[in-house]
């Protein structure tokens, strides 16, 4: 009965979403606050119903209700409870339901937020309801998770073993929170276009949503990258795979959006561009969903295997992207353009940031979609990989990183480049020293690695110097500077921390130039050398998990004298799906890792191994975490939340040291 109730909750949510879309919009046109007031409570009820449906699906999975097709196809009675729950979104139907749950969560948050005026909130919720309707129709008619089987089979087919992993439990919800979060800035942008009115107040209302979505997307991408790193056994952290690019594109556009919204809030400029970016960011999120969900990536022809599904998403895609861009073309000229400003200023630097980020996003877009277009037209299957991106993406990102600290230090309206240069001199000099020292120490190594690490160090030091120069005045004691640093607005800390996180990530990526790889076969008792470590293969055993059998090799990693770590690297065989997964053995030594992937087992008892030593590799993901933390700090800035003037005074009094 639970499954049927969940199903009914979805159809009822469809009916309510129709109301949420039509009536408040009509109210906003007619200027009737009562009809406008309908949007918020209905959005909350839609959230309640969709959450109920999701809960029903979770119950069906946890209770192994094999009368539900989705459970049969993705669950198994012996599967551990955690993966019974995460299996809910480890498949197409369930993940689309999760998508829409998150959409409803954001709708409920908007409905509850008091920082938006009624008119803006109403229009935004109506646009959001339109998205909800499209996806509910898609779920109900082509990807229904509540489809039943009669008679129910005795056992399920189990979840794809690659997905039976904690990383995959967290990754999709985070990623979807990011993707769908940008639906809020999209809805606000469309609302502004409909009203033909946009100002700094809009930017202030939209900024928290953009920040929130951006934080989640950053975490989601980082989590996905770490999962691919340790679960797929390839030892890399980013493969320029279309699935990864699908999430990187909205991230790049979203990053640009985040910065242009700031310009709009502070300087009332870049309005039209910001609206366009808000539309593009969500469009890229939709495109990402389409690419991953339609099966178009495995092959353009796989798309035709389930034409209903793919065509459906394509229609949603064209309606929302085409519709919003058409609305933009029609209404944007009505928006009052912002003021003019000098090129050497914070806003000038942010425009450069936007240009570079947008171009980088375009290169990823071409690299992702060109092979698909070529396959569809000419039938040739090509893959665009790292060499392409090294030549296009990297040359756009490096200048961006170089001017980042300068833009961060420039003041609004009219900046003083010379003064900024003086302030950054220390950071630049220190970074140069780091680079030279590394070149001297690792002579003969790859050229780009020390330069990249130097660039990362420059970013981290510049972020620190930003805080220092804003709080320290020459001649004043250190204690005063510390107190002033504490008193700096959280958004200043947030931007410094996030930019420092970028630096950490750059260091981690650049240091991979020094990573070493060894492929070797070994018998128990023999040792392999990798990256200055002696890895001894101790033994090969087997054991039985809840729903898999495992072959595990135990290896001891030795330093110069004593052993420093013991790792287990295994292969798991899942009988229900007859699939094998690799479980890489990873030893974390400081910020570096030794990574052991188990290969073939030979009849004579020797075993093939792939070993990597990856210096400072953890910095890649730590950098992403720090970036997201910076975003969270900025989000927590009290000043952002001030909706009405009444609350402004006590809050500003709470900021000391000024």
């Amino acid at each position: 009965m639970t499954a049927e109730l969940g199903h009914f909750a979805l159809t009822l949510a469809l009916g309510l979403s129709l109301m949420q879309c039509a009536v408040p919009f009509w109210g906003a046109r007619a200027g009737d606050p009562v009809l406008m007031g309908l949007a918020a409570p209905v959005a909350l009820s839609v959230f309640g119903l969709i959450a109920l449906a999701f809960g029903a699906l979770v119950v069906a999975h946890v209770g192994s209700d094999f009368s539900v097709l989705n459970v049969v196809e993705n669950s198994h009675t012996t599967k551990p409870l955690l993966y019974k729950i995460t299996g809910v979104w480890g498949n197409h139907e369930g993940s689309m339901l999760l998508w829409i749950v998150i959409l409803a969560i954001f709708g409920a948050l908007v409905a509850l937020s008091d920082s938006l005026s009624l008119r803006l909130k109403t229009n935004a919720l109506a646009v959001q309801a339109a998205i909800t309707i499209a996806f509910l129709v898609f779920i109900l008619f082509s990807s229904n998770p509540f489809e039943r089987v009669d008679p129910a089979p005795a056992e399920g087919q189990d979840l794809n073993p690659v997905l039976q992993d904690l990383g995959l439990a967290i990754h999709p919800p985070l990623l979807y929170l990011g993707y769908v979060g940008f639906s809020m800035t999209f809805a606000l942008a469309i609302a502004a276009l409909i009203e033909g009115r946009i100002d700094a107040g809009w930017a202030r209302a939209a900024r928290p949503w953009a920040l929130l979505a951006w934080c989640f997307l950053t975490l989601g991408i980082a989590m996905g990258s770490y999962w691919a790193y340790y679960e797929l056994g390839w030892g890399g952290f980013w493969f320029w795979d279309p699935v990864e690019n699908a999430s990187l594109m909205p991230w790049l556009a979203g990053t640009a959006l985040l910065h242009s919204i700031v310009v709009m809030e502070k300087r009332d400029a870049l309005k039209v561009w910001t609206i366009l970016l808000a539309i593009l960011t969500f469009s890229l999120s939709l495109l990402g969903t389409f690419l991953v969900r339609s099966g178009v990536l495995t092959s353009v022809h796989a798309f035709a295997v389930d034409p209903a599904r793919g065509t459906f998403i394509l229609v949603i895609l064209s309606v929302f992207i085409g519709g919003s861009l058409a609305l933009f073309a029609w209404r944007a000229p009505l928006l009052r353009p912002g003021g003019i400003f000098a090129p050497i200023s914070r806003e000038g630097a942010l425009i450069l940031n936007n240009l570079l980020l947008a171009s980088a996003c375009a290169t990823v877009f071409i690299g992702t979609l060109y092979p698909l277009a070529l396959e569809a037209v000419a039938g040739a299957k090509i893959s665009v990989g790292a060499p392409y991106y090294d030549l296009t993406f990297v040359p756009l990102i490096v200048p961006l990183l170089l001017v980042l600290p300068i833009g961060q230090a420039l003041s609004w309206k009219r900046g003083d480049l010379l003064a900024v240069g003086q302030r950054l001199l220390a950071a630049l000099a220190a970074a140069l020293c780091v680079t030279l020292a590394l070149i001297a120490w690792r002579s003969g190594g790859p050229v780009m690695a020390p330069i990249g690490v130097g660039l990362g160090a420059y970013l981290v030091l510049a972020a620190a110097s930003e805080i220092w120069s804003r709080s320290h005045q020459p001649g004043r004691p250190l204690a005063v500077a510390l107190r002033r640093a504490r008193g700096l607005p959280l958004s200043a800390w947030g931007s410094a921390v996030a930019h420092g996180g970028v630096g950490l990530m750059v260091i981690g990526i650049a240091a991979q130039g020094w990573s070493t790889e060894t492929i070797a076969t070994a018998r128990p008792g023999s040792a392999i050398e990798v990256g200055g470590y002696r890895v001894e293969f101790r033994d090969l055993g087997s054991r039985v998990g809840p729903n898999y059998r495992e072959e595990v090799a135990t290896l001891v990693i030795g330093g110069s004298s004593a052993p420093v770590a013991v790792v287990e690297s295994g292969k798991r065989f899942f009988p229900a799906r007859a699939t094998t997964t690799t479980e890489a053995g990873i030893a974390t030594l400081g910020l570096s890792q030794v990574y052991v992937s188990l290969g073939e087992t030979y009849p004579d008892g020797s075993v093939g191994f792939r070993l990597y030593h990856k210096p400072l590799v953890l910095l890649i993901w730590i950098g992403a975490l720090v970036m997201a933390a910076g975003g969270a700090l900025s989000l927590a800035d009290r000043r952002v939340r001030i909706g009405a003037a009444v609350r402004a005074r006590p809050v500003s009094a709470a900021v000391p040291a000024e």
């Binding site: 009965m1 499954a3 049927e4 109730l5 199903h7 009914f8 159809t11 009822l12 469809l14 009916g15 309510l16 109301m19 009536v23 009509w26 200027g31 009737d32 606050p33 009562v34 009809l35 406008m36 409570p41 209905v42 009820s45 119903l49 094999f66 009368s67 009675t77 012996t78 008091d114 005026s117 009624l118 008119r119 803006l120 109900l140 039943r148 009669d150 008679p151 129910a152 005795a154 700094a200 107040g201 809009w202 035709a304 295997v305 389930d306 003021g339 003041s411 609004w412 309206k413 009219r414 804003r470 039985v544 000043r639 001030i642 909706g643 009405a644 003037a645 402004a648 500003s652 000024e658």
Partner: protein, 369 residues
């Protein structure tokens, strides 16, 4: 019944979510327009703060303040009129209420009526029964598996679990279990044939070289055993030796005891080669076990549902196979054609249908329409 009650309650709550806000007064909803005044006042305060901190020079601060002030004046456009009271507002509210009362339950129930399976929910006894046997099998497998993990050399354990694996479709495990039992307790016809069958299942119905060897062992140990002989005939058929296969099938049918449950399957195979000898056919026909009415009802129910559309590949395959097992070859061939039409767009499903057609010997008729 309980389902419909809860659904009615949910519908009522959803409608109330529309009606309740309509009964509120407009004034309680807070400011309708953006409060620009407040925003620019905040901005002026922030300029002061930044000036105090020395981030912008006093002159710059003055200019910035002047600009914020100018923007404030510009932003204060004419306020749009609000229509909270009066006759038109009342009519709009009534229209919205009528929409809420009709659209929400109608869309909800209509879409659910088209897609849902409320009937399935009201048969808890069947669900429970299925659940019971399922957990029993699951528990049995888990129990024996734990036992075997601790005592991997217990031949009896492997003997118990191997056929169970075979039945739940875990062919690779079944093959492993049978081969362990053969290794530990020596060969017997059942173990050898079971091993072969597991290999065939794992290979998706193809009788491999290794499976053939296993079946040959089984026949060597017990020449009268029908199962390995059937698979050997199938191997011959798959190798293209149709004469050999046909002869073996015929020999199987002739030697079969009249009540043998596998007889219809062999006859179905034989039918592909142009019909069984008439004598055996007549002899075998009454021997076919009576079909239990429940099974009949289940197959017909599935048939009726799939005819209405919306069946997936597994359901179609099950239906075709059911008719073949019931001996209704025309019905099976007919449903096979329907399945081909219904699943035309689904490549893998079509391949599976072809495989089934070949297995059941329905291939020649499959392409007729």
């Amino acid at each position: 019944m309980a389902l419909w009650c809860v659904m009615a309650l949910m519908t009522g709550a959803a409608v109330m979510a529309v009606l309740w806000p309509l009964s509120r007064r407009g004034a309680s909803l807070g400011p309708v327009e953006q409060d620009d005044l407040g925003f620019y006042r905040d901005q002026l305060l922030e300029i002061d703060r930044e000036a105090d901190r020395g981030l912008i020079a006093p002159a710059e601060a003055e200019a910035a303040k002047a600009e914020a002030g100018r923007r404030l004046l510009r932003a204060k456009g004419p306020a749009r009129p609000l229509a909270t009271t009066g006759e038109p507002a009342l009519r709009r509210r009534r229209a919205a209420a009528a929409l809420g009362l009709s659209v929400v339950p109608l869309v909800g129930l209509a879409v659910y009526g088209a897609l849902g399976s409320p009937g399935l929910a009201t048969r808890p006894s069947l669900d429970l029964a299925a659940g019971g046997s399922r957990t029993e099998i699951g528990a049995l497998i888990a129990k024996v598996e734990t036992h075997l993990a601790a005592n991997p050399n217990d031949a009896r354990g492997w003997d118990v679990i191997a056929p169970v694996y075979l039945r739940v479709g875990r062919f690779e495990d079944a093959a492993r279990a049978f081969s362990a039992a053969r290794r530990l307790a020596g060969d017997n016809p059942d173990r050898a044939a079971g091993y072969g069958e597991a290999l065939v299942g794992a290979a998706g119905g193809v009788v491999s070289r290794e499976a053939t060897t296993a079946f040959e062992e089984a026949v060597k140990l017990d020449p009268g055993s029908a199962r390995p002989r059937f698979y050997l005939a199938m191997a011959a058929e798959q190798d293209g030796k149709s004469d050999l296969a046909r002869a073996e099938y015929e020999r199987l049918v002739r030697s079969a005891p009249p009540q043998a449950p596998w007889l219809p399957v062999v006859e179905a195979r034989l039918a592909r080669f142009g019909g069984a000898p008439s004598g055996t056919q007549q002899q075998a026909a009454p021997a076919r076990p009576e079909v239990a009415p429940e099974i009949r009802a289940m197959v017909d129910g599935l048939d009726a549902r799939l005819r209405q559309g919306g069946g997936n590949a597994d359901e179609w395959l099950r239906l075709v196979r059911s008719y073949a097992v019931l001996g209704e070859r025309d019905a099976a061939a007919d449903r096979l054609n329907q399945a081909r039409l219904a699943l035309a767009a689904d490549g893998p499903a079509t391949a599976r249908l072809d495989g089934l057609a070949q297995e059941l010997g329905l291939g020649q008729r499959g392409t007729s329409p």
